[in-house]
């Protein structure tokens, strides 16, 4: 059950775990990403949008709270403020009642009711939270006192006896809504919020694994309500509450603890044997409750605290185990939160235990510190589903509540153990609490923020690099974006979904981030649609937050802009080139044509025709984009065949290539003009009857030979005029080499070798 004994989970995490993590992704394939996010918390996708059911629950909750308030408002009470002087002495501080106003400062000794009912007053009368009384006897005493007091108040007028002999007859009046006090409403609102969050989680994802969370939320909400009732101002508790308060609060506490264990066996992943573990937790809680209900268990407070602390420790262990099975940052966060809650509970229990048996003043402090601990716990429960999306303010609030718990517990401890003065202990405890705050804040929130934050400079550098690459290769933008996201977040797992999404969002409990694959290339209809899912940021040590989603959206937007800009520039360029080409072709071409028709001799005419063809090649190269070698070869062949046919020269043509490369504009026009020039040469000078053109492309190396059977000889003696010079120049431009040799007995062989053809120049 306990985690295996491997060294550091985060250090051991990356490589071997990825495979298992992949196997564990159950909810993230096509349909899953939308319907079943990986973790507890639910609300992310669909649902902060008010669902109808949630509204109904909220209304019902408000109604329930109102009914409770109404019930409480009808209960009779004595409106007065009291203070515990010492164990035996309870002092009246003030009261708006006319009968008591004059008695301020008096020490209450006894309360008489009807039918000779009476209670002897001591400090326990003001202790209305039996749950946090350590000692069995004093707890029983408190409960009896409260019960009798509320019975007496229910029966009518009571007489308050004071130490100095004075007495006052007081008619208990119903509280009214105003008499409930602000604190009750505050707690009521908090309880309502807890209940709503629990209901929302359950409604958004009605699955058994979210049930424990709902139980915790509900129990803590009820706990807060119970505290609200216990801290009502004045004397007198509602009659129906006094006998059952203790058991109810114990039930809430124990259920929460057991549900916490249960939850951690289900989330973020189902643990093997989790069923047995949670059953054991629930069993212990139920047993303890049953025994307490029968009052068969001595030292009930100790047992309760022990079970709660035990459940806390168990949760810690389970989360550690879960994190080793799958490095989900949510497990890490849960572990730390559980650690914080358990540690503060331990401190509080120790403080209360030490303080028990001290005088009443300390008892009062004990009650207050327990209330603060519950508030702390409630904020944690409240925030758990929203941890990845909530505002930093809320996080700080939760931390503050925790710090306050520490402060009051410490204060209590100091007062009880060292008998320090109130001021000294307060300042000491505040100091220590701040130390604890400062040292744990980072540790606790680290799964949220991470140590990372790559720094603006590095971030910019990465972004810039990827932008450049996307501009260069827009087709790879998806892969490049994935790489950038990998660098930014270092997730354990990246996968692509076919499902498109509109914007980035945090999935599950912050363990995953869904990023839409941008349609970066707007012209391209086939642009990839889909999403990238990143899981477990920073190798599973950090949770994704909404800030991350926002950042990602911005990055994607920047990428899109960069590509759009680049495209616009490219479009502008090609439009400009096309315009120049058009002008050249239309104006110069028409003039050359006229000149050609008027040519005085066939030589001049041919020369001009050649020029015109070169011009056409040039303008076409300007206007068109890249060409495939196979297409170009087909055109060369047709052209050459036609020209040789007119000159009565036989052509044999072989062209073979292992790969159909794409020729850049420069390569295409260079090769076209080289071929034209060489063929012209053969037609004009060789007097050949046969021309053999053969070309092979192997591994990017082009070898082109033209062999004629003409009269040409001794190529080394040729004077390289405009034509052959042009051929040399263009072959050199292609990075190749050209040679002329004698072809056996008759004719010339020209060999052009271009070592690297294809790709872009």
């Amino acid at each position: 059950m306990a985690p295996r004994d491997t060294p550091d989970p985060s250090a051991a995490a990356p490589q071997p775990k990825v495979a298992r993590a992949t196997a564990a992704v159950d909810g993230l394939d096509a349909a899953g990403a939308r319907r079943r996010p990986a973790g507890l918390v639910a609300m992310l996708q669909r649902s902060w949008l008010p669902q109808r059911g949630l509204v109904v629950v909220a209304l019902l909750g408000c109604l329930g709270l109102f009914l409770l308030a109404r019930l409480l408002a009808q209960q009779p009470y004595i409106d007065a403020t009291w203070r515990v002087e010492s164990v035996e002495v309870v002092e009246l501080v003030s009261s708006p009642l006319p009968a008591l106003r004059a008695l301020s400062g008096g020490h209450l000794t006894r309360i008489d009711g009807r039918d000779d009912a009476a209670i002897d007053v001591d400090a326990d009368l003001l202790q209305r939270s039996p749950r946090w009384s350590v000692d069995d006897a004093s707890r029983q005493h408190q409960m009896t006192l409260q019960q009798r007091l509320s019975t007496m108040l229910g029966q009518g007028a009571v007489t308050l006896q004071f130490a100095d002999g004075r007495q006052a007859d007081v008619q208990p009046l119903p509280r009214g809504f105003a008499g409930l006090g602000a604190f009750f409403w505050l707690l009521g609102a908090a309880a309502l919020a807890l209940g709503l969050v629990a209901a929302a989680v359950l409604m958004a994802h009605p699955q058994p694994r979210n049930l424990p969370y709902a139980v915790i939320g509900l129990c803590q909400g009820l706990n807060l309500l119970a505290i609200g009732i216990e801290t009502l101002p004045g004397l007198g508790l509602p009659q129906s509450y006094a006998p059952h308060g203790l058991l109810a609060r114990m039930a809430f506490d124990l259920c929460s603890a057991a549900a916490m264990v249960h939850l951690s066996t289900l989330q973020p992943r189902r643990l093997p044997a989790g069923r047995w573990i949670s059953a054991a937790a629930w069993g212990a809680a139920a047993l303890l409750l049953a025994l307490t209900a029968r009052q068969a268990l001595p030292q009930a407070w100790w047992w309760t605290q022990a079970v709660m602390l035990g459940c806390g420790a168990l949760t810690l262990l389970l989360m550690t185990w879960s994190y080793r099975l799958e490095p989900n940052p949510f497990a890490r966060l849960m572990r730390r939160l559980a650690a914080a809650a358990t540690a503060t509970l331990l401190l509080l229990s120790a403080a209360v235990a030490v303080a028990s048996g001290q005088d009443g003043l300390v008892q009062d402090d004990a009650a207050v510190s327990s209330v603060i601990w519950y508030l702390f716990l409630s904020t944690l429960v409240l925030l758990l589903p929203m941890f990845s999306r909530m505002q930093p303010l809320m996080r700080e609030l939760a931390l503050l509540a925790g710090t306050s718990t520490v402060a009051t517990s410490l204060d209590l401890l100091f007062v009880a153990t060292f008998s320090l003065g109130a001021f000294a202990s307060l300042s000491l405890s505040v100091f220590f609490a701040l130390v604890v705050y400062a040292s744990t804040r980072r540790w606790l929130l680290q799964p949220m923020s991470g140590q990372q934050v790559p720094g603006a400079e590095r971030m910019f550098e990465r972004l810039y690099r990827v932008l450049r690459e996307v501009e260069a290769r827009p087709d790879d933008s998806a892969a490049l974006l994935t790489r950038l996201l990998r660098e930014l977040f270092e997730p354990l797992e990246v996968r692509t979904l076919a499902q498109p999404s509109t914007r980035s969002r945090v999935l599950g409990d912050g363990s995953a981030l869904l990023v839409p694959l941008p349609i970066i290339d707007a012209d391209h209809e086939r642009a990839a649609e889909g999403s990238i899912v990143l899981r477990f940021a920073e190798r599973g040590t950090r949770m994704f937050s909404r800030d991350d989603a926002r950042l990602t959206d911005r990055v994607v937007e920047q990428l899109r802009r960069a590509v759009a800009y680049d495209k616009a520039v490219e479009r502008g360029r090609s439009e400009e080139r096309a315009r120049i080409a058009q002008d050249l072709h239309d104006d110069i071409g028409a003039r050359l044509l006229t000149l050609m028709y008027k040519a005085p001799s066939p030589e001049v005419e041919d020369y001009i025709r050649h020029t015109l063809k070169d011009l056409k090649t040039l303008t076409r190269g300007l206007a068109s984009s890249d060409q495939r070698l196979s297409h170009a070869a087909a055109e060369w062949k047709t052209d050459i065949a036609q020209r040789l046919g007119a000159a009565q020269i036989e052509l044999s043509w072989t062209f073979s290539f292992d790969r159909d490369v794409v020729l850049g504009v420069v390569q295409w026009s260079a090769l076209t003009r080289v071929l034209r020039e060489l063929v012209s040469n053969a037609i004009q000078h060789s007097c050949a009857t046969h021309l053999e053109v053969s070309a092979t492309l192997e591994g990017g190396r082009l070898r082109l030979t033209l062999a004629d059977d003409g009269i040409g000889r001794k190529p080394q003696d040729w004077s390289h005029g405009l034509g052959l010079g042009g051929v040399r120049k263009r072959v050199k431009l292609l990075g190749g080499d050209v040679q002329w040799r004698e072809n056996g007995r008759t004719g010339i062989v020209c060999t052009v070798v271009v070592p690297e053809l294809g790709g872009r120049h």
Binding site: H585, D586, G589, A590, L593, T594, M596, Y597, K598, E605, R609, L612, K613, K616, R620, S624, S625, D626, Q627, R628, S630, H631, A633, A634, E635, W636, K637, T638, A641, Q642, A646, D660, V662
Partner: protein, 245 residues
């Protein structure tokens, strides 16, 4: 009776050159009408019975139309004259398929490249009139794409980078209506086109396919016709979609 020929060409030198080509090409008595722009060409045509070539008036038998004219593109005239009973030939300086293919779609029966030598032009003109129109590899490729099931030449880019056989697969949406027969090429015709697109000459194709060279020519003629018909059908569909008809 003289054979009537209309030459639409704005460059006077080129015009007289084309006149020489026409006269050289045919032994009949030729009556050549010349016009320098679209407007005068239209006028000439309406004098001889209008665009439909009806009324029993003696129409032009041969039209040579330049693509780049001062008051518009020769293709406009070709499109108007789709029913005109004459051999229509485009004369142009542009030899690339981007310019020529649309002209063929508008109903041209062939094209002449103005920079070719006199003798070549004469030969080509004779061939076209005899029904042996030229077909360059680039245009053959365009034709293949045009007649590809489900795709018209305009929808697919001329060079998408995916023109290997692999991309001609079934992932394209299948057209709901079955294309009519006149919109489809026979297997022999596609074979001829494929060879042409690879740069084979007609003689080579004839020997590769084991048929006579004039049979190859017949295929090419038939392809021209189908292109014309299918383009017109396409235009009609387009027009009715836009509510023009």
């Amino acid at each position: 009776m003289a054979v009537k020929v209309l030459i639409v060409e704005d460059n006077p030198v080129a015009r007289s050159f084309l006149c020489r080509v026409v006269r050289e090409s045919f032994s009949d008595v030729i009556a050549i009408t010349e016009s320098g722009d679209l407007e005068s060409a239209r006028r000439q045509i309406s004098l001889t019975g209008g665009a439909q070539g009806l009324h029993g008036v003696d129409p032009f038998k041969l039209l040579l139309v330049d693509l780049e004219l001062p008051d518009g593109n020769g293709m406009e005239l070709l499109a108007e004259l789709s029913q005109y009973p004459a051999t229509k030939i485009v004369t142009t300086l542009y030899s690339d398929d981007d310019h020529l293919f649309p002209a063929l779609q508008c109903g041209a029966d062939g094209y002449l490249l103005k920079e070719d030598r006199f003798e070549v032009l004469v030969e080509e003109l004779q061939k076209i009139v005899r029904g042996q129109p030229p077909l360059s590899p680039a245009i053959a490729r365009r034709l293949l794409m045009h007649f590809r099931p489900g795709g018209s030449g305009e929808a697919a880019p001329a060079d998408s980078g995916f023109s290997s056989a692999g991309s001609f697969q079934s992932s394209r949406p299948v057209p709901i209506e079955k294309p009519l027969d006149h919109e489809r090429l026979t297997p022999r015709e596609s074979e001829v086109l494929t060879y042409l697109s690879k740069g084979f000459t007609i003689k080579e194709i004839a020997s590769l396919m084991g048929i006579k060279w004039f049979t190859v020519n017949d295929h090419i003629k038939s392809i021209y016709k189908k292109l014309n018909v299918s383009s017109r059908a396409e235009a009609a569909v387009l027009a009715s979609k836009q509510g023009l008809v």
